[in-house]
Point group: C2
Chain length 141, copies 2
């Protein structure tokens, strides 16, 4: 049987595939919505009825370590994850807490072995905070 994109990506990253891992990665690859652990759990527990929150936590953390997903820490209260590992800019809405990808602006990039002020760099994040267009509508009253 033909292996899925998610399956292959896991193997490439040196992660042993499993039903749960494939499902979680597949979800990340097809939903560009910066889900939290809870969101991923809720989305998948219907298909994998035995899924536990713990597994989602552990799996996403592992994905971030292995570079299969990106951890996004904009929200004061909860971490979310991004399936698109290419660098790009985020926007965080203080009202609804959603994270959006920003198309308008170029993302900063990091070269191989890059350093700033003598510190060795692995990741960059550029994000804006404010009120998203959706929330701005309801604000006007």
């Amino acid at each position: 049987m033909k292996k899925s994109k998610a399956y292959e990506k896991l193997v490439e990253a040196g992660i042993k595939p499993s039903v749960q891992r494939i499902a979680i990665l597949e979800y990340m690859m097809t939903h560009n919505i910066h889900p939290t652990v809870e969101t991923v759990y809720n989305a998948l527990v219907g298909k994998i009825q035995t899924l536990s929150v713990t597994t989602v936590y552990n799996t996403l953390r592992m994905f971030a370590e292995k570079g299969v997903a990106q951890m996004v820490t904009i929200d004061e209260h909860r971490v979310c994850y991004d399936g698109f590992t290419d660098p790009h800019v985020h926007f965080f809405c203080k009202q609804c807490g959603k994270v959006f990808d920003v198309q308008d602006l170029p993302a900063p990039t990091i070269g191989e072995g890059m350093a700033v002020d003598g510190h060795q760099v692995n990741e960059v994040q550029l994000y804006y905070r404010g009120l998203c267009s959706e929330c701005a509508k309801h604000e006007t009253k």
Copy 2:
């Protein structure tokens, strides 16, 4: 008696000054170390013996809302605060968890009423993650 810089800054921001608030802001203004709530508490509980962690939490959160301090959410596990509200670049060390200001790189700026992708912007953050020079030393063995 002459009012301190911290006192004046609070009044300007529309915050009613109090012993605790002045002390916390004064600490933020004289220590460029991106302290966590805990750090601020430990530093001040000697001078204000009745100080509570709750007050530090509430006060710093309020400072961030009023623009007197900046909330920095790089660390997955804990938030820290920055007394310098002018935009600038941060570096986060994954090993020791410290946050540094980056001098080498220019900070992104936000103009009055700026928007990205139609969303209304209030704050920007640009940060790098990696291994700081101090931790890199001990790593070499």
